[in-house]
Symmetry: C2
């Protein structure tokens, strides 16, 4: 991923984004063929790895461990930036966004490992609810059927890079007027970009 110097994220900033935007894209290259699957990931910062699972019928499994290159990407919020929003004249349209790219090595998990991925993912996403769903609500029959249909995997992170494109190359006044412009749109993603831009100005 090409990253302009103003926009490079620190490792801790990457992990902060990943914890909010963990629905990523598993991309593999095998025999010059790109295969990709959207996957909800568990981000294990302490052990520098990711966990996920895919359908056994998904042929990406065949190349997961033998991939010539394995990349996982995550897009945070993104928003169009109108040149009209800047205070300064003579501006160019652009797109602000945060994105993290991980290069890694995959290992397939056994049934116990895959079950832990399911439990971990549900704990993360159910924590927003007053009465979280837990895996004991599933019958053994259903659980076994699910485990027969999917394969869990771990991806050890070899390299991680993040781009946080938030108009850091503009002066404070222009950044503040862009924040205001983003606030006038109806897009939650644009409002989130405005919040991130604000955090950059007043950390």
């Amino acid at each position: 991923m090409y990253i302009q110097r103003h926009f490079k994220m620190l490792e801790k900033e990457c992990f902060k984004m990943l914890k909010k935007h963990s629905f990523g894209q598993l991309i593999t290259s095998f025999n010059d063929q790109i295969t990709q699957t959207y996957v909800p990931f568990i981000i294990d910062q302490n052990n520098a790895c990711l966990y996920g699972h895919i359908a056994k019928q998904n042929r990406q499994i065949e190349c997961l461990q033998n991939s010539d290159d394995l990349t996982v990407t995550f897009l945070g919020s993104d928003a169009y930036i109108s040149p009209n929003w800047y205070g300064s004249p003579d501006q160019v349209p652009t797109w602000n966004y945060q994105a993290v790219e991980i290069k890694g090595k995959a290992t397939l998990l056994d049934n116990d490992g895959t079950l832990k991925v399911i439990v971990g993912l549900s704990q993360i996403h159910e924590s927003q609810f007053e009465v979280p769903w837990t895996i004991d609500k599933m019958s053994n029959k259903k659980l076994n059927a699910m485990l027969r249909a999917i394969v869990g995997f771990r991806i050890d992170i070899i390299e991680m890079n993040g781009q946080s494109k938030l108009s850091q190359n503009k002066n404070i006044e222009d950044r503040q007027s862009v924040i205001k412009g983003l606030g006038t749109t109806k897009e939650q993603a644009s409002h989130r970009i405005a919040e991130l831009m604000n955090e950059e100005i007043e950390p």
Copy 2:
């Protein structure tokens, strides 16, 4: 992209999604190395092609025309689906989303072509505003500096596949209770998934 039979999108459904979610990801494979860049695209349905531009400093340009495989992906809305939301018992957590994958062939554009991409992109994204920005607001100096920094490209679509995972494999009552559950969250993306699920039930 592995697509379960319930979820396969028709070509017209793919284009419908692409017109709303045109901030995509350009993925190339060259000498067994995956490179990817997030890019705002122009979707030209009539001519079955995409247009975009990237920074000249982005080394992905080198492999754009010689890529062993070139894939462009677009993610529509996405949302976690809690098993607690279904009326029926014994359910599995899942993720609903729409995504389109395009395999294509890239051609780099000259300055005139690149300028047309800039004009086209700004027309698309400025149409939401009362007073849209137009390229004549830029000085010639700025315009030329921009054209020196970027390269436009066209991607002719060879193959397009879309996945619309909206619980179509569940009964109507369960789908309706999931729609209700999505409505209780604060995420605009979840609300959009609810709308799409509703359109599936009552087209």
